[in-house]
Symmetry: C2
Subunit: 90 residues, 2 copies
Amino acid sequence: MNKVFEALAHPVRREILKLLRKRAMSAGELAQHFTIAKPTLSGHFSVLKNADLVTTERNGTTIIYRLNMSVMEEALAAFMALAGAKGKER
Amino acid sequence: MNKVFEALAHPVRREILKLLRKRAMSAGELAQHFTIAKPTLSGHFSVLKNADLVTTERNGTTIIYRLNMSVMEEALAAFMALAGAKGKER
DNA sequence: ACTATATTTCGCTAATTGCCTAAATAACAA
DNA sequence: TTGTTATTTAGGCAATTAGCGAAATATAGT
């Protein structure tokens, strides 16, 4: 879970997740939304992948990134354990 | 909001928040829960404070840290905007 | 085999982080 | 004022991060 929070710490990576929330996209498509160099972006992809926040699937020469919803939800649950508070004590 | 996510990226800082969720505590009290040096911990406090996740109040020689619930909830909302998707769509 | 496209890996640098010990500051009591 | 306790600031160091351009890899088409 630590890797997940570390992955979320960078604005570009959060934006990537936000884009993938709408639909799966190739690395190139994602790159069009940013002005940073592709190798840099590729590094961000690998952080997200390492945290299991995204999965990949090769399709010819392109690689499709998609959000890993289950891990996102686990992360959300972990966050709520911090911020949540709402009741559930003792 | 970026500062908040950066603050959440370190396990010690998340643990601090978790402790403060139960009740406000002084720096020294918090320190008892960790094995790291106090100056290091003080650095973590300042990251949390800078992100507005905690507030401080001096009480004699001690400084009381308390969770800033409203910012925690904003952060939770921001997180849900990323992970949210709570089933309900399509 | 060669070319083109998509993406990643490599090698580098600058900036930041996290940790420490030692020193400084703040508040209080004697 | 001196001493004591609580906490932070300063200074330094090793490790990590984020960025880049150039080179490497993978796949497909000709």
